[in-house]
């Protein structure tokens, strides 16, 4: 009886330890202040808005595409993302990129775009 519980708790302890370790290894914070992203140089998920006035460019040779993003305060940064622009990039309003700021721009390994489901929301501010 006792043995069983010791056995069980050892397994649970090892498992939870492993889980916590892996979690700290692979967790990434969301950051929507570009100033601190640029300053820290840490790997983060940067959430912001795609600056549509500055068009995006695709670079076939290095298989990347680049565009500009700005945060709520209006701070802008250049983002270079691996791969080609995702299917719904042109219509995206807010963008979340994963990566870090280095050598003057944000190196993104992953991009996530969110499309407005209703354009009403966009227009309301304009009219």
């Amino acid at each position: 009886m006792k043995q069983k519980y010791i056995f069980g708790s050892v397994i649970i302890a090892v498992f939870l330890g492993l889980l916590v370790f892996l979690f700290t290894q692979s967790n990434i914070k969301y950051e929507s202040n570009f100033g601190s992203i640029i300053a820290s140089g840490k790997t983060v998920k940067a959430a912001g808005v795609w600056v549509k006035e500055k068009k995006y460019e695709a670079d076939k040779i290095s298989d990347t595409f680049s565009f500009y993003m700005k945060d709520e305060t209006g701070a802008e940064m250049k983002v270079v993302c691996k791969g080609s622009a995702p299917n719904n990039f042109e219509t995206a309003t807010s963008v979340v990129v994963t990566g870090k700021f280095e050598d003057g721009y944000f190196h993104a390994t992953n991009i996530l775009t969110k499309c407005p489901s209703k354009y009403q929301d966009q227009l309301k501010t304009k009219v």
């Binding site: 692979s26 299917n87 042109e90 996530l112 499309c115």
Partner: protein, 796 residues
């Protein structure tokens, strides 16, 4: 209007039925028949409401917001039907519909089993009540009118004969950015239309349409199957609570078991169909991304499957002793948890809380719905775990018996623990964004590698264990054959692929081991008692699934290829030749033709690209050559037609005084200039741009000119900066200009480079990906076989 009334009536009957069922449990006389009757009234009303919604979609009644937002007249009938569950409102409606139908079957099932019906149905009616509240006019009502809330609708969806009429003038708006015209819909416009004698259905004649990603065969069947799984997961919950209500834990195990099996089988199959859709349409080459929406349905599935293992033990030990059997508490917890996790997943994916964490477009449903979803999940959690705590002492008293360590019971329990660990990992990772952290997919992958190895080995060994106690020698003798077969297979894989990753080798070995053990026993069972055949088949499916996952991810190859028309390109043994394109679907889509040769076989692949009118986005669809041992997958990335396209050309929108950057050149819009009067001959209107390139400053003056009654655009070339600038439009009022800017080398239209049609693609080979699908289908079949057996057992 009718729809909302029907929903509200159904809600009233659901509440009545719930109360009356509860009163009959409390001992009230004559209430059971009414409770039953009202449950059926509710179900019929829900079916009527669903029929009304489907009718509104099929008859294109765009005065309803839901139909307008998700459907359109040009959709084929199949996709119109899938509009039913394309949005939040409709998918809740579908979930409700399936839950009420499951309830009808459950009512008949429980009415034949003693005093079960009142308890089970009282709990079940609570589920229908909450779902009905969700689609009621208070929250996400699919029958809301388009004009109930103010919003802008595209002018192209308005009946053209009314566009120019005077009454519409105050409601017309133009978006400055896109130059699109909109009509402001709302109660005011509705009043104006009413006084003009125009009906809404005559005014709005087209809907926004269905997201093209959802216009796919698998999206027509994936949601109904998934929601059937969700609906079925409410049943074990109801049984568990019913057992706690009566404080009797012997009967419910047998009664709930077939429901748990069919629920898990259907939910698992539904999840897989979602993965199959992602593989075939999303074009990133995978089927599982650990996306919150996927995870939200995986977590309850894992817990449901865990409960199957411990329910099996309890059922066996009940038949052999007087007590409540082994794992009585565990089973109650797991069955309650399954449904609570379904509701928690619904909260995560529909409240908007994971907005930044998922590729799925989450509409923020508003504060009210957010709170309601929390209340929904919390109430079920409180009822479930509250009654468990209430009965905890009583449960402890009723437990008799103790088991030895090397027994199948323990193995089954360990299986449940491992599945629970997997669920916990996914739960933590999926919930992390609530606390503003997120995990990479590596978190899920790395934690699951050891779990899968444990599951495979455990499964193989446990089958050799007899119930109660087994002897060490016996086990080895039984397992000699499958162990050597698995060892041989692993060796072959390692030798042929040169795999060196020890974890991958272990996974392959453990999956092969499970496969051979289960295969051997299943083969014997077919001609034998067939009692546990379903379990062996499900485990064979799981082993094949694991092999498929490892094969397609660890052994897959991928390459980025630029295919110049007519020139073959080689990639890992395949030869690809791009030969041109054809226009499909009313000339709206480009289907590229790629001839592929591999090992003497040749086939054609047609990946598709098009601009969707739904969102003006470039859509890409992959094409796959499906094979039993290998898929060849081609995803289009970009197409360069050669002649007219100017590579590196960009459009810039500039305000006066503003600046932009183009390939390391800074372009500043310093001023505009005008010559002559507007509308007169030789009128010229242009902008002055300052271009900073490599530290030098140049000026460009592109303009638009009136010549011989026509407007011509005069480009400006800046040799020093190697740039070419041309005006697209200038707004005379705001002086905002849209210009095209390009590298000079590419602009020369008179002397073009020889046209070079080029298609860029990502090609990948995916060995044994078919095993993923085959494995899951076999697994689901195993669940179904077990379901049939356990239904027979629980028959009265």
């Amino acid at each position: 209007m009718v729809g909302s009334i029907v929903i509200t009536m159904a809600l009233a009957f659901s509440i009545l039925s719930m109360i009356l069922y509860y009163l009959s449990f409390c001992g009230a006389q004559n209430t059971l028949n009414y409770a039953r009757l009202f449950y059926h009234f509710m179900s019929i009303l829900v079916i009527i409401a669903s029929t009304i919604l489907l009718y509104l979609i099929l008859t294109q009644q765009y005065q309803y917001a839901y139909v307008y937002n998700y459907s359109s007249s040009d959709l084929p009938i199949g996709y119109k039907i899938s509009t039913f569950w394309a949005g939040q409102e409709g998918s809740f409606m579908l979930w409700l519909l399936l839950t009420s139908i499951v309830g009808i079957v459950l009512q008949s099932y429980s009415s034949k089993r003693g005093d079960l019906e009142a308890r089970v149905m009282a709990v079940f009616a609570l589920s229908t009540t909450f779902l009905l509240l969700m689609v009621s006019p208070l929250f996400k009502n699919p029958f809301a009118y388009l004009y109930a809330e103010s919003g802008f609708i595209d002018i192209k969806n308005i009946n053209p004969s009314y566009i120019m009429q005077a009454f519409l003038e105050p409601f017309r708006f133009i978006d400055q950015n896109s130059q699109q015209s909109y009509v402001k819909m709302g109660p005011e416009l509705y009043a104006a239309l009413k006084s003009a004698g125009i009906s809404m259905s005559d005014f709005v004649i087209q809907g926004k349409g269905l997201n093209p990603l959802l216009q796919n065969f698998w999206m027509q069947i994936h949601p109904p199957i998934l929601f059937t799984g969700f609906a079925l997961s409410a049943v074990p919950f109801a049984f568990a609570i019913a057992a706690l209500m009566k404080d009797d834990y012997r009967e419910w195990v047998k009664q709930a078991f077939p429901w748990v099996l069919i629920g898990s089988g259907v939910l698992g199959f539904g999840i897989m169909l979602g993965g199959y859709w992602a593989y075939g349409i999303l074009g990133w080459g995978g089927y599982w991304a650990w996306d919150p929406v996927e995870n939200a349905s995986l977590i309850p599935w894992l817990i449901g499957v865990a409960s199957i293992h411990t329910l099996l033990v309890q059922q066996r030990s009940i038949s052999k002793s007087e007590g409540v059997g082994r794992f009585a508490k565990t089973n109650l917890i797991l069955c309650i948890l399954t449904y609570v996790l379904v509701l928690y997943g619904t909260f995560l994916t529909r409240s908007g809380i994971l907005g930044d964490a998922s590729v799925h477009s989450f509409v923020d449903p508003g504060r009210l719905v957010y709170v309601f979803l929390i209340v929904f999940a919390s109430i079920f959690a409180i009822i479930g775990f509250g009654s468990l705590i209430f009965r905890w002492k009583s449960l402890n008293k009723k437990y008799i018996g103790e088991e030895n360590i090397l027994s199948r019971e323990l193995a089954l329990f360990t299986a449940a623990v491992t599945l629970g660990a997997s669920a916990l990992i996914v739960f933590i990772g999926t919930s992390a964004p609530i606390f503003n952290v997120s995990v990479e997919t590596s978190f899920y992958n790395e934690t699951h590698i050891p779990l899968v190895i444990i599951i495979g080995l455990l499964n193989g060994f446990s089958l050799a264990l007899k119930w109660k106690q087994a002897n060490g020698k016996d086990i080895l003798k039984k397992l000699a054959l499958p162990i050597s077969a698995a060892f041989l297979l692993t060796l072959l894989v390692v030798v042929f692929s040169g795999m060196t990753d020890i974890m991958m080798i272990l996974i392959i070995f453990s999956a092969a081991f499970a496969l051979f053990v289960n295969g051997e026993i299943a083969f014997k069972e077919i001609s034998g008692s067939r009692k546990m055949l379903g379990a062996y088949i499900a485990h064979i499916g799981f082993a094949l699934f694991v092999l498929g996952v490892i094969g397609s991810s660890a052994y897959g190859k991928q390459a980025e290829l630029d295919l110049v028309k007519g020139q073959p390109v080689q990639a890992f043994g395949y030869s690809l030749t791009f030969t041109g394109y054809k226009l499909i679907d009313n000339n709206q889509k480009y289907a590229f033709i790629i001839n592929v040769k591999n090992a003497g076989k040749s086939f054609e692949l047609n990946p598709v690209m098009y601009i969707s009118s739904f969102n003006n986005g470039l859509m890409r669809e992959p094409d796959i050559n499906v094979g039993l041992t290998k898929d060849f997958y081609v995803e289009p990335k970009s197409y360069d037609g050669g002649e007219s396209e100017k590579p590196n050309e960009t459009q810039l929108t500039l305000e006066k005084g503003g600046a932009a950057e183009f390939q390391k050149n800074k372009i500043s819009y310093t001023d505009s200039f005008k010559k002559g009067a507007m509308g007169s001959e030789n009128f010229e209107f242009g902008v002055i741009l300052k271009i900073e390139s490599d530290g030098k400053i140049y000026t460009a003056k592109p303009s638009m000119k009136r010549e011989g009654g026509e407007i011509v655009f005069v480009p400006s070339e800046v040799q020093g900066a190697n740039l070419y600038v041309k005006i697209q439009t200038i707004d005379p009022a705001t002086l905002k200009a849209v210009i095209t800017i390009a590298k000079l080398v590419n602009k020369d239209a008179d002397n073009p480079a020889p046209p070079r049609e080029m298609l860029s693609v990502t090609a990948s080979s995916k060995p044994f990906v078919s095993f993923v699908w085959i494995g899951v289908v076999i697994m689901a079949a195993g669940f179904f076989i077990s379901f049939l057996r356990r239904s027979k057992e629980s028959a009265v």
